[in-house]
Amino acid sequence: MLSRVAESLFWMGRYLERAEDIACALDVNFHVLLDISQAPSQESGNSWEPLIQVGGDVTQFNEFYDSCNMSTVTDYLVLNQDNTSSIASCIIMARENARGMIEAISSEMWEQINNLYHHIKDATAADIHKNPYMFYKEVRNGVQLFHGITDCTLSRNEGWDFVQAGKYLERADNTARLIDVKYALLRQTEPELMTSTDIIQWMAVLKSCSAFEAFRKIHLSRIDPDTILHFLMFDRDFPRSIYFSVAATQSAMASISGNTDRRSSNNVDRAVGKLEAELSFLTLEDIYSQGLHEYVSGLQRSLAVVGETIHQTYFAYHAPVVDMPEFAPTSQKHKIERSIWSQAQQQQQQ
């Protein structure tokens, strides 16, 4: 497989996952505000700002907007194409990647990614605010349908593994960001003193990872921050937990490198394997002893290193190191600008 095609498959999976995660977070936030009896459009600051920390760049947001409320945050995270992580940017870039290697994916996959693109391309702020539930649902359903089509129509070869690696690496990163932001915000209340509003907020954390029902099937009694953290970090069966996502990334990368029996490793196998081993033996006490924020920041850095190592090992292994642009772990290094140039030709002019 060409490294260019592998890179496109990886980033296609990654961008679509990011679009889904952002749609989910916005959807949940909107409905939490309704649950705690606040009009989402009037609520300002407190409940919208964390979403920018999860899904975007606070500095960039402040450059574009004067205030932080439902309409500015929605615009920034959904429609603003200057934000490379907005839903629109993610879907546009996923489609650009798909278009450049259209022969490597099935036509059904292409049609679905194109549907999503046309859906988001024509969306306006008015459409979203008129019916946010439907809008976010369509984005999430669209991405999930894409993954379903991929499962049904794409051969289980390296290409499929690159899509999975992109998807799960992004998912692990997203869950880590969510934990980081939400715990800093909600941890201030002692568990014994939690009010019903706090409980709704904690439920929202689970719902932002579509984890509420899966969690309740295992933990039937109280909604307790430690149990939630344990579930989102370490659960071995829930497909959006960090452990599950890292292990899925590991298995995808291992089947690409042929290192399924763990006998010989390349740098990617080592980076992601180290992370998987750490997560399988870590306890909450270990995390608290070094501070949750410190631990989760370190985890995000490790995930970025995995992404960078995949780039170096599979996509740019011929590229001279001096030629690399700035370390940008969450977006593609050179997709938007042209990366392949034609050699000059000499006129026949004797």
Partner: protein, 270 residues
């Protein structure tokens, strides 16, 4: 006439580039109606890379290679020894190819100006018509390097009234094709005569016209006063236009400014 051709191409980059893929159409044709024999052809690239070759639809031999590792410079040296002016058996061209050679292409564009240009020169005989067209192009257009580029079209050259051999060949193809005469673009070298060996030269281009199954392919050079292609001409290959026979072309990755330098030397055997 036995001719030695040295063709050196150097790409220089101000920053490292990588994953270069290059195609060469530098090997002179051998036999089958082309009145020449290619006795020897070698091509070397530096940094070294394995070189593969295949024959394309227009019967040109294409060498190609990839350089994956990063590099700042790419040198391509091609050497050939060709004996020209020898009779060789001719096989009539097939219909599909001829139909291909009547169409407009990226560089060869037909329009009213092109049609009108040759209207008074019409003749029953294709060879006479083609020679008149070549003659009129030679008289009408001014040879001037630098005013046109490698991707100039015949329409642009028509308006400018000046250009180089590549442009004149495209004009001639446009004129002939819009009057229903199949003609092809030929890439090659021209030996300039004794005493010219030291001057670095560029490659040359001219046209071949299909004169029917009896006359076969006839070479005309609208850039030189003599008009008829003779044994000083070394033919590399042919196609619908420059795009089919571009000598060196390819792609690379990386962010660098490219500098291209080409040296061609043609000398005759003692």
């Amino acid at each position: 006439m036995k001719l030695y051709v040295e063709h050196n191409t150097i790409f220089q980059y101000d920053a490292p580039v990588y994953e270069t893929a290059t195609e060469l159409r530098l090997q002179p044709v051998d036999g089958s109606g082309d009145r020449q024999r290619c006795e020897r052809f070698t091509v070397q690239v530096d940094p070294p890379a394995p070189i593969f070759h295949y024959t394309d639809f227009y019967n040109n031999v294409v060498h190609h290679f990839n350089l994956l590792r990063s590099h700042n410079q790419l040198t391509i040296k091609a050497n050939s020894v060709v004996v020209t002016g020898i009779p060789s058996p001719f096989t009539p061209a097939d219909d599909i190819l001829l139909r291909d050679l009547l169409l407009e292409t990226r560089y060869v564009r037909c329009n009213d100006a092109v049609f009108a240009f040759a209207e008074p020169l019409k003749s029953e005989r294709i060879d006479i018509f083609a020679e008149r067209v070549a003659g009129k192009i030679f008289e009408t257009f001014i040879y001037e390097p630098g005013v046109t580029g490698v991707h100039s079209t015949s329409t642009e050259v028509m308006e400018l009234g000046r250009g180089v051999c590549q442009d004149f060949a495209h004009i001639m193809l446009a004129v002939l094709r819009c009057h229903g005469v199949p003609a092809r673009y030929v890439s090659g070298y021209l030996y300039g005569g004794p005493g010219t060996e030291e001057h670095p030269r560029a490659s040359h281009a001219w046209c071949e016209v299909y004169g029917g199954s009896e006359m076969g392919w006839l070479g005309f050079d609208p850039t030189n006063e003599q008009l008829l292609v003779d044994e000083r001409y070394v033919k590399i290959g042919s196609g619908r236009d420059y795009g089919d026979v571009s000598l060196v072309r390819g792609t690379f990755k990386g962010h660098a400014t490219e500098k291209l330098q080409v040296d061609v030397h043609v000398r005759a055997a003692e």
